[in-house]
Subunit: 354 residues, 2 copies
DNA sequence: GTGAAAGCGCTAACAG
DNA sequence: CTGTTAGCGCTTTCAC
């Protein structure tokens, strides 16, 4: 079926502050005062008249004009590798909310994890005059030149190392991983593999170092290392290689929940059981991890707090005060995949009646 | 550690078109012409001078000013219930890309699925002067009044019924569900349950009707109906109720992949096997479905195409031509959960060498 | 408590 | 081919 659309283009021309002023019998300045609650006071009765005119006319302030005048778009930009990745989706959502709470909208952009795209997206955001940018790069050394000579404040979100001149917020990647390995050791494992996502860059991911340290502290040799993409497919492939390994490890630490989910599938297909034949511990603490089978033990990142801190850092950025690297502690969430919880967790225990 | 930030606020004041004009020794108009490639032609040598001045100064056009002048922000808005839901994440990502390809940025907003929030977000987007909005509501009757009397073109995305005055794009909810049930019947099932998400509204979801029809066509009675939230937790709870049912069904059709993932966990916990003890067919075709255990048979929505069509409809909207409801066909993706594929799918079969 | 007016940076007539 | 200029709608200083 086909219908005639609402509100044809031929409708009323845009209503401006001026129309409101005329209808309310005041000046445009007064309209501004009541809309913005300042900077001058307005007598209650005039204010009421203005408000009435506003709703009678269905007036909406024009954000572009406001942005032009104020030199601020009241928008923040965020570039992430992939909003489809649950971890980044959750992070972006948290940032969006924290930003909204302060009156800022969030312009989200996917980089697909390539430096070139990152640069392009940053440039695009810059030209849209966002008031600041969150950069969640997957690269060790994101290309910051674009950010450096735009006047735009930026914070590196999900970045756990120091970058001179930039605020950043991250988590204890190394310590979290170390503790996860330590935990697996506590379950009696002595051959613990690592499934590690690949970053474009040649530094060692701190998660890898954490795994090494955990092993070293326990006096254990390093198990096999499997490198793969940071996604389900990558984890799946790594899992296939892992179960086929000659001296099959009895446990594995995986660098992200997403990869662990893929790995779990490969393990199931091979007819092995988790955690009996292979214990699994992953990283992130996303919702995926809670509903996989078995549920994944994982190192949980405090996404909410990180988002909050990032927004705080970005909005409060004066361009002068010293730059900081906020590192958040992580939590071990123990579920069945490492051998801890054989049964459903309390949170989920009781089915709703009926 | 703490470092002194880059680009202190005391840096150069914003560079405008005027600075460029001065440096290039031309008028501001000429700068505009070369930046926008029109509307007038500029001699190659002047153009070169201008471009040089632009990069020498690091000039960036001010989008706010442009938006004000043009009456277009070159931004589109999208409100979805939850970007954290993989289906909407994927949809939003596809829309973002389709929009970007046409020079539009996407302002994303979460409504949490409540009508009040939807309205608030639409209003917010409207005040930011987006050139159009995609509304992906989970409600049967989204509150469109806000859209109706803003002048903003809108398309209802993920909406499969006709709404006078609005363009909309959706999928064959009913037909897809019917075929899923038909498929389960083909596997020999005679007691097929329904796990159905709850919408705020009192119309029947077309998926429910499709399930009914599938059953009716096979001359089968309706199995139990379990209603729950549209998330993993909801599916989990429904699954718990389902496995505890007196006359336990041998198959179930689930209204979304996310719910099915939750259900799968409940089934596993109960010690039942899928598909032997309970066959499962779900709806959406998201990535989650491919990596659950067992992999889910699901009714796949053509997300890419839908996004493309939605952007097309929104940008090409002239406010006059008649409004359309574009309904896309769906595909049955057959995997292990319904009893079809006992082994890994070809797509995933070969592990990368090594 | 209210109003007039000067721009914010850009585009696109219109005039040369 | 190039330049001048009038606004787009809003905020805010300064005068009343």
């Amino acid at each position: 079926m086909v219908t005639v659309p609402h509100s044809p283009a031929s409708a009323r021309p845009t209503i401006t502050r001026k129309d409101v002023a005329r209808l309310a019998g005041v000046s445009t300045a007064v309209v501004s005062y009541v809309v913005n609650g300042g900077p001058k006071r307005v007598s209650p009765v005039t204010a009421a008249k203005v408000r009435e005119a506003i709703s009678a006319l269905g007036y909406r302030p024009n954000a572009a004009a406001r942005a032009l005048k104020l030199g601020s778009s009241e928008m923040l930009g965020m570039v992430v590798p992939d909003t489809t990745n649950p971890f980044f989706a959750t992070l972006a959502r948290a940032v969006e909310e924290a930003a909204a709470a302060r009156g800022y909208a969030l312009l989200l952009a996917n980089s697909g994890g390539s430096a070139a795209n990152e640069r392009r997206q940053v440039r695009n955001l810059a030209s849209r005059r966002v008031d600041g940018v969150f950069l969640s790069s997957v690269l060790f050394e994101p290309d910051l030149t674009e950010l450096e000579h735009s006047e735009i404040p930026a914070v590196l979100l999900n970045h756990s190392t120091e970058v001179p001149g930039f605020n950043s917020v991250g988590v204890e990647l190394l310590e979290g991983s170390r503790r996860a390995v330590e935990h697996l050791v506590g379950h009696g494992h002595r051959n613990i593999a690592l499934v590690m996502g690949m970053n474009a860059g040649n530094d060692l991911d701190a998660r890898e170092v954490g795994w090494q340290q955990g092993l070293a502290e326990a006096g254990l040799p390093e198990g096999p290392i499997l490198r793969c993409d940071f996604d389900r497919q990558g984890g799946y492939r790594a899992g296939q290689r892992l179960v086929a390994a000659a001296d099959r490890p009895t446990a594995v630490f995986v660098s992200s929940d997403l990869q662990a989910v893929g790995l779990l599938r490969a393990v199931s297909e091979a007819g092995l059981r988790v955690p009996e034949d292979l214990a699994v511990f992953s990283f992130d603490g996303s919702a995926e991890a809670e509903f996989s089978w078995p549920p994944l033990s994982t190192v949980a990142q405090p996404v909410q707090a990180m988002a909050e801190a990032a927004v705080e850092a970005l909005i409060g950025f004066d361009g002068l005060s010293p730059t900081r690297n906020r590192i958040f502690p992580v939590d071990l969430v123990l579920r069945a995949s490492c051998g801890c919880a054989p049964v459903p967790l309390p949170v989920l225990a009781a089915p709703a009646g009926q």
